[in-house]
């Protein structure tokens, strides 16, 4: 008999000897007692689930608070930005000295165009919410081409002494011809934009055409 066979026989003998061994009855009693206690008290898994539930609830509450704070701060910034824009946007044309006003100065009003002043305020953080509006405004300012202000016949310098307003209007393209400007007859039926300078009396004093 070689060593391998002897080892196999020895292992089988050991297995056969231990084959009848069992855990003492005391172990079964303890296991069953633990089972009863677990049934009476509370399921451990349920307790764990409750613990997990509370942790999840706490995390959710913290997230909700964080989101609310961020949203609140964003809203405040939006309001601040709007207020800043309102403050910086001139509501009227500055007073003009009646002695110095003339046709060139009327044309110079173009430089004080309110739209040009409505640029983003300093120290205002731009968010995605406001970017389209600002972008549109910037594009509007940069891409428009305007003529000089053309005085209307009844304009007098006195009328602009107390200020005035510039109003964007749309006119038939044929109106260009009234002011001696060339008209593209292919686009005769289209509208053309114009800024009308109104005095405090509500009368139109000058006009410029915008493209």
């Amino acid at each position: 008999m070689n060593d391998e066979e002897m080892l196999t026989r020895g292992l089988k003998a050991l297995a056969a000897e231990m084959d009848q061994l069992e855990a003492p009855a005391d172990v079964e009693r303890k296991v069953l007692e633990a089972f009863r206690a677990r049934q009476v008290v509370r399921p451990i898994s349920a307790r764990r689930w409750n613990a997990r539930y509370w942790v999840a609830a706490a995390v959710a509450a913290m997230l909700l608070i964080a989101v609310s704070v961020v949203a609140y701060r964003l809203n405040r910034r939006v309001d601040d930005q709007r207020n800043a824009v309102k403050q910086e946007q001139p509501q009227s044309v500055p007073k003009v000295d009646d002695k110095t006003i003339n046709q060139e100065q009327v044309a110079g009003v173009q430089e004080q165009e309110p739209l040009a002043t409505v640029v983003r305020p300093k120290h205002v953080r731009h968010t995605n919410v406001h970017r389209p509006e600002n972008t549109q405004l910037a594009n509007h300012v940069n891409t428009e081409v305007a003529t000089d202000f053309i005085p209307l016949t009844y304009m007098t310098p006195v009328n602009l002494q107390d200020g005035g307003q510039i109003v964007r209007v749309e006119l038939p393209r044929s109106a260009l011809a009234n002011f001696g400007l060339p008209v593209n007859m292919d686009r005769y039926n289209e509208k053309v934009k114009a800024d009308v300078l109104l005095g405090v009396d509500g009368m139109a004093h000058a006009i410029r055409f915008v493209q």
């Binding site: 060593d3 020895g10 061994l21 069992e22 296991v31 069953l32």
Partner: protein, 205 residues
């Protein structure tokens, strides 16, 4: 209605998790011996084997829902849990020294044959030497020997329990048997040489 004795392990586990104490008792009586013997053969201590058996079934009460029948039998699952507990206990208590010196920890091996007392004695000695040799193996080899040779678990189930490939089980078993042969061979040689030295000593005296 099917008697509970005829129910499968999975059905008994389901009933037990629903709060059926009788199902737990049946499941325990059906599987406790396997778990207890595995723990005893792994660590050689009755006390630890009892503790491990208890802990395994307590674990089954708490976390029985994690058992997936598609991944293997419940017996394999229990042996896997028992293995984890045994390894933990061995690490904690550092039971690396040969066990069995404590009389209370002696594993009762009964070679009960009334025909030939001398043969019984020889057989008991052989079994004891094999048991000690198994206990002295490194853990990764010991668990393979215990499962495949002593518990008669298939290679596939052993691989499931140990969480390794079948090839690994085979190679570990091969290596474990070689180690056992090395450990058992010197015993016989030492016994022979020891007897000779005693004889010569008497001559000198």
């Amino acid at each position: 209605m099917i008697p509970k004795n005829d129910l499968s392990d999975g059905d008994l586990l389901r009933l037990m998790l629903a709060g059926d104490e009788e199902a737990l008792a049946l499941l325990y009586r059906r599987r406790q011996a396997t778990v207890y013997r595995f723990a005893l053969q792994m660590c050689g201590s009755k006390t630890i084997a009892e503790d491990v058996t208890q802990e395994v079934f307590l674990f089954l009460m708490r976390e029985g829902h994690v058992f997936d029948p598609a991944r293997g039998a419940l017996s394999s699952f229990l042996l896997g849990v028992a293995r984890n507990h045994v390894l933990r206990r061995l690490r904690v208590e550092q039971l690396l020294a040969p066990l069995g010196d404590d009389p209370d920890e002696e594993v009762p091996l009964h070679a009960s044959s009334d025909d030939c007392p001398l043969e019984d004695l020889t057989r008991a000695e052989t079994i004891e030497s094999v048991r000690k040799a198994v206990l002295s193996l490194p853990t990764k080899y010991r668990e393979v020997v215990v499962l495949c040779e002593l518990q008669d678990v298939s290679y596939v189930e052993t691989a499931e329990i140990l969480g390794c490939a079948i090839g690994t089980v085979r190679s570990r078993l091969h290596r474990a048997r070689a180690l056992l042969l090395e450990k058992l061979r010197p015993v016989a040689e030492i016994e022979e040489t020891g007897a000779a030295s005693v004889k010569s000593a008497r001559c000198f005296a």
